[in-house]
């Protein structure tokens, strides 16, 4: 679906940016959208049997179900947090991250200075943009949920960059990476719960 590639790339980058800049509901919904769009970008073109895509979506689905905080789907709060004005305000409050995403996108459009060229500039641009957006909070954030989301954004970016050069993952590697996504989400969620419980007891 080459015609959908560019919109998916833009959606993935926007969702990745929101996943690391928003808090609470907006961030988790953005993460879910990032996961869907990056998985579709990674597997749809080169994997005719779709096993990789199914594995990835199932794994992220399970991970999100476990990791999602309680009361996420309260209708009114969800509408408030996902309102366009709220999202725009969040992006305006984090100009450095937005600038990083745009810079990553532009940087990714330039061919690699290596003798192997990407078959898909769009995938490479998305991969590098997500890496640029995800790595700083992964390295520096002291908040567990934010770090977990940054880890997912970084891993999604890494896999997109890899796919842009090597094509879709083989089924065994796809299984390992899918397990990794679940693992990051589940462990991140469990650590966050445990620390808040321990602090509550104290």
């Amino acid at each position: 679906m080459p015609s959908l590639e560019l919109p998916l790339v833009l959606i993935a980058i926007l969702a990745g940016t929101l996943a690391v800049t928003s808090a609470g509901r907006g961030a988790w919904v953005a993460l879910a959208i990032l996961s869907l769009s990056s998985s579709a970008l990674e597997f749809s073109v080169a994997d005719p049997d779709r096993i990789g895509l199914i594995l990835r979506l199932s794994a992220i689905g399970i991970g999100l179900v476990v990791a999602l905080p309680e009361n996420l789907f309260e209708g009114q709060a969800l509408r408030r947090d996902l309102a366009l004005t709220a999202l725009v305000r969040t992006l305006r409050e984090h100009p450095v991250v937005v600038a990083s995403a745009i810079a990553g996108l532009l940087l990714g459009l330039v061919p690699l200075a290596l003798p192997i060229e990407s078959s898909s500039d769009a995938l490479r641009a998305a991969g590098i943009a997500l890496l640029v957006v995800g790595l700083p909070p992964l390295l520096t954030s002291r908040f567990i949920e934010a770090t977990t989301r940054a880890a997912v954004v970084t891993l999604a970016g890494t896999m997109l960059l890899r796919t842009s050069i090597f094509g879709a993952l083989d089924s065994l590697t796809a299984l390992a990476i899918a397990a990794g996504f679940t693992c990051i989400l589940v462990v991140g969620g469990s650590v966050a719960t445990r620390i808040s419980n321990a602090e509550g007891e104290r």
Partner: protein, 519 residues
Amino acid sequence: MSDGEILTAIRALFPTLMALSSLALVPIVKLWRGQERDDAATYATFGVQVLLLVTSVGAVLSGAGYVSTLKIGQVTIDPSEPGRLLVVLGGIVFAVIVGAGEGRRAGTMGQIALFGIAAIDLSLAIPSGIAPIALLLFASLAISGAAASGKDDVGRARAVFRDLRTVSLLLPAVVIAEILRTAISYAAVDAAYATPASLAAGTALGVSIVLIVAAGVFPFHSRLIKIFEALPIVGSLLVGVWIPSALALIVMSELSVLASSITDPLGGAIVPGILLAGAATLVFGAVSALLHDDIGEIVGFIAVGNAGWLALAAAAALQSPTDTSSRLIVLPGTLAISLFGLWLVSVRRRYGTTSISELGGWARRTGANGIALISAIVALAALPPGAVLAARLNLLLLGGNPLIALFAIIGQLLLIAAAIRLLLVGFTPQSQTVHEAETRPFANVITISLIAGSIFVAAAAAGWLSLETGGTGPLPPAPSVSPATSFDPAPSFEPTAAPTGESTPSVIPSGSGEVSPAP
């Protein structure tokens, strides 16, 4: 599926099947003994110990030959000799540790050990791109998460959080190394791009960073110390020692292939840097172990010191790719640290403290623990001198820097001194805590298994048993970070022959993304 194929699948996936069967074991035991019965946990622990030993025996019987190679479509699972050796010894080591640990969660720890050694076996059996490294990294994260569960302890949670961050950062490094590695063969035909040696140096740096960070080499040691401080010992050993050892085997295999495929020396300061990190880690780990007074921290720093040997081995694999010494030292180091872990869990369980000041006279009170620590010291020192000690000395010679070698030897001697200090504390007058502790009679299954297990593992670690051949053997399908077989890279330029008068490329493209030596 024919009977033969089923048998092959069982052989190939035996440790994984055992790990999965443990998931059913605990509910069955609870059903049998009843939820209210106090002995349900004891029976579950015993059952898991049996599964660990069965895994060990099964790995010996299954072996790593072609009859154990499973093919499902394009996926091949080909158990390797080092992987099976790790399973054989891991099954025994963790069965003894779970027995010595006792307690309500011992059964769960046994299950974690089963899944850990299954992940190690599986990752060393997959010849598929980044899958083995990704599998090990994510298994490490999952194990630390599972080991830390069951208690709302901030320290434990923070150790797991640190692990999550580390694993998430290492995977991009692996992928970048994979991309650089693929570029090597194409760089040789176009002078406009980076040289094969510089790309190889970048690849070596990428995969070495994975090993250095995962193993806890200085200055990345704090993760390992936190793990040993916070997690139960089974989780600490798996995440901090066993999984990094399996990673080391993969990385060293990759480094050997890389170094043997280019004729130019690697650019940059990769080898001196790794050598320096290795020697510094040995000295740092030993000095820190001598300065600390908590046995959990001391064992953690001894594990850091062992990571120094892994770094030295990685440098040796780059310097001399055909030499097998680098792979020979991995398993003995793992077993030696496991013995320290066994001693630690046994002493902690018996006396309920980890402070040296409260453990005066522990060896006089519990002689079996004394035997366990002496075994660990023998394993650490690799005595009497044999293949393991020779391999360590060979690594230092391969490094080619007398100052680094001297530092490494001093560090190793200080590590042994730190371990002997623990033993000497055991012969001082008994502290109040030790005096009042409840001890078991000597003729006890747990005590006997502790002694027998310690001596067996020490024998394997010090090279008394001829197990080193498994450690030195190649990884039958050498797992590497090279692209999967399905990848058919298409360079965007027309490869041209190097102009006359220019230096001959050190590698030539083989057409499959793999690197071939220049003729």
